[in-house]
Amino acid sequence: MNGPRVNGPRVNGPVRRVVVVGNGVAGLTAADALRDSGYDGELTVVGDERHPAYSRPALSKALLLDGDDLSSHELPPATHGAHELLGVRASGLDLERRLVRLDGGDALPYDRLVIATGSRARRLTGLPDELTLRGLDDALALRARLAGRPSVVVVGGGPLGMEIASGCLAAGCRVTLVSDGVPLSAQLGPYLAGVFVRAALERGLTLLTNGATHVEASAGQARVHLGDGEVVEAELLVSAVGDVPNTEWLAGTGLADGGGVLQVDERGLVRPGVAAAGDLAAFPTPYGRRRVPLWSSAIEQAKVAGAALVRGEQTPPLRFQPYFWTEQFGLSLKAAGELPVAGEPAFVEGGPGGPALMRWSHGDGRGVAVALNHRVPIPKLRRVSQAAA
């Protein structure tokens, strides 16, 4: 280390100021990892939401269901001791001068930067009556709307759309879900999709699988036009049709690819001294470079990225191990390994129709273990997924 060099894009200088942009679990974990790696300098976390970091998976699960309990998303308070700027949006990045520009005109200088601004819901329209569920404010707004038991149409047959439909049914609403093909089949594979669809239909979900061509929504009135010409009407429209990286603030830096995604290396670096983690990053996985916008993915990425900004190549590279879970229609699924899975499972414990631990093998020998309504801790799930077929 030489003397202070705060001008120019030099990355070997002393690290005195680290800025983390994004206060989701990726930003929070990166800040923790910086501290755990011995960084004790100035740390600033910028978050566009006014809330402290929370558990996003809970928003479409317990938070939609829990009667009066509005705490299921709350995380323990942050311990990283950062200066937190909450309710503040980053508006630009100057890589040459190493400045994060903020809405309102302020700028934060940095020696090292973590980009963790996540993603937002992809929308079908710009209409305010098309609800989405991505952030805490969205979840609280949806909860409030469900209290009046409106009829609901959910567009999107992925895990989020299905969780929302399940929550709306549990709230006593009449619910129609519009998907393009069998819900969950693209994410989980046909066997597991079948299990969930049966449970959903038994609980009273109306399912239409011809896809939506376009939607209309105004206060208390929504219309979804289907591929076969049919029209579904409901009082409330919720869409869950994917997510879009929040990387517009990086315009002009060349950091994001054409899809707005940051391609990072095995330690989460997008440039020397600049890390990215969470839903906006595509990182190397055993099955190629992927964006994996899930809870444990964000945490694993951020741990490595935060450490790498302090310790560089001494930091062990990310060895990503997929973990996914969902709760809907009375079923709880936990999966270790790469989804979707083809064909029928081998039953390690239990059997069809009841609590079960199942295993699939991909053609190249990699395995997937799935626990359905069965409390199996992850370490065991991982062992089962890795067992020889």
């Binding site: 679990v25 755990d36 998976p57 409390r375 199996v376 799930l381």
Partner: protein, 62 residues
Amino acid sequence: MKIVLNRPRCEGHGLCEEAAPALMHLDDDGELVLHQEEIGDADVPQAQAAVRVCPVAALRLT
């Protein structure tokens, strides 16, 4: 410091065990077992990692 488990919240994911295998594990029924409640300074970073990774915030460090 002390690790506190809110058992009704625990869903048995076991991400905490992965983060801090020396401090906790899930038993055969998927119930979390804390090896010790009081932890020394050396174990605090591991305990914090376990607390942080829990998606239902069933663990706290006080």
